[in-house]
Assembly symmetry: C2
């Protein structure tokens, strides 16, 4: 759980039941991948087994402080399945070869199989959550899934457009990232009869901060820590906050057509130029501000344990590779 610093810190803060809950999610994820034919088991299984931080399931659990029932595990599994489905489809569109150091489904099985695998992971997410028998939970997950797709559409529509506004960028981040974080917290709160509105707002804010920092890391690297070439977004035509802020300060960057960035070296040069404007520090400061708002907006009635664990996760979001 690189996002939160040493995993044990959040675990300890959240309670000793958290590692057990996360293990149960792994088990259910493996079952979701296994029950629908050998082909899916292979493709979805490799995606799921490749892991990731399981940050969204962790948020479900921390938002449901103390709760340990199967319904909670199903909710956490469903959120992670939606996230996995999105990753598989993103990889199809980017024709990505590797994710988390493992060959992607699209690389090993082709576009058709990968698109179908993503669809199946979506379907399994709703199947999983449906067992809880709660329409309010299905609504939360379907709203977040709709937002993810809408965000993806927005990203494609804005690709290669250097003049994307800050407002439009933030809207995209909200749709593509923040709404699923919000859903995770809402689901946890619903299962624990907690406060879905306020915990949902917490999730949305740290989700937004998470995406902002992701976009900073794409420019700052180091590649050895992020596992990605610097400037991947620039090469994809994805205009993010560092570039938006830097264009206001550097007239040459403002005049740059993203399509002219045609090699990894050129992308690194632009990254250096963006960094030189101070835009990365400003973007980090905005992310930190959102995290602080998230913490400040936590409900008053939380237990000290729950508050501390949620604050640790929030801090972890902006502390990555700091």
């Amino acid at each position: 759980m690189a996002v939160t610093g040493p995993v044990t810190e959040v675990m300890r803060a959240g309670g000793s039941h958290i590692p057990d809950l996360l293990d149960r999610v792994e088990q259910r994820l493996a079952e979701a991948a296994a029950g629908h034919g050998a082909l899916l088991a292979e493709h979805a299984g490799s995606t799921i087994a490749a892991g990731g931080k399981r940050l969204r399931p962790l948020l479900v659990f921390l938002a449901a402080d103390g709760e340990e029932g199967e319904g909670l595990v199903r909710a956490a599994t469903a959120v992670e399945l939606v996230h996995s489905a999105t990753l598989v489809h993103d990889d199809v569109l980017d024709a990505a070869a590797l994710r988390r150091g493992v060959p992607t489904v699209v690389a090993t099985a082709g576009r058709g199989a990968a698109t179908a695998t993503g669809d199946l992971l979506f379907a399994r997410a709703f199947a999983e959550l449906a067992v809880n028998g709660r329409a309010d939970e299905i609504r939360v997950l379907s709203a977040a899934s709709s937002a993810l797709a809408e965000g993806e559409l927005l990203q494609r529509a804005d690709a290669w457009n250097p003049a994307v506004s800050l407002e439009r960028y933030l809207r995209r981040c909200e749709l593509k990232t923040a709404r699923l974080f919000e859903a995770a917290c809402r689901l946890g709160a619903l299962e624990a009869n907690g406060e879905p509105e306020q915990l949902g707002a917490f999730g949305r804010r740290i989700g937004l901060a998470f995406q902002l920092l992701d976009d900073v890391l794409d420019v700052s690297g180091p590649a050895a820590r992020t596992g990605k070439q610097r400037g991947t977004d620039l090469l994809d035509g994805t205009v993010t906050l560092p570039f938006i802020l830097a264009r206001e300060r550097d007239s040459e960057l403002a005049a740059l057509d993203p399509r002219s960035i045609d090699s990894a070296e050129a992308a690194e040069d632009v990254c250096d130029r963006i960094a030189a404007t101070g835009a990365l520090d400003d973007a980090r400061a905005r992310a930190l501000e959102m995290v602080n708002e998230a913490k400040a907006g936590l409900p008053a009635g939380l237990s000290a344990r729950q508050r501390h664990a949620l604050e640790l996760v929030a801090t972890g979001v902006v502390a990555r590779y700091a």
Copy 2:
């Protein structure tokens, strides 16, 4: 409603409330496309507006004889949204230019936008159905959605393999087509407190027959009626029942590598050759047999009106362009 002969016939048989229910589905489909940003409204809207037979919503309504509530309309809308999502993703994978005579989303907006549009239509389907607050309904739809994706995976895995077995072909048809027809009937029955098992079995059988006949029409044409070039499946590497049966009867077809069919003319020649073996008549006979089984398996307690309407739809499935 080409599938059922004159649309008025099924309408009259099903009851005067059916046209009103179908209008309400159109309304809800338009709303589902409209509520999630201008881009989606454009892409999803064009897909939905292009229409189609609305056969699956009709099945929902006929399976719920007499029922007219909002829950039923939502269920029918959800089924059609899942169907639309699948079409959009299929078009991405086939890089299709037209569907129902209208430019596809992938043709007008690119792969990224089309993949996201399909994802969004899936998410809206579950959002729509979630309002009913019934976990049993969500399970039915998520199971069918999983089957669709599994069927798509199977089709991709079997592409270009002329030695696909009859059993495996039927399994693919069940997953890709029959399970959503089954879901439509089950949902109608659930909303009307009817018999989901038996009506579901009816839907599955006519869905299977529907797919078999689709595959016959791909070989037989006429293109002027089907709206598709003959032999499209052959050119896609999709091995279907007519080809499977014809290979058993014509040693030259048995020796044919599907990859060698590299032009529309070559595909038409293979279609003629398949037809000459009598395989199309046999495939039609199998479809008809399934339709008869479907009718025979209808629950005993149906009203005369409901039975008649369902039988008409079943007959229509195999009567297309006969």
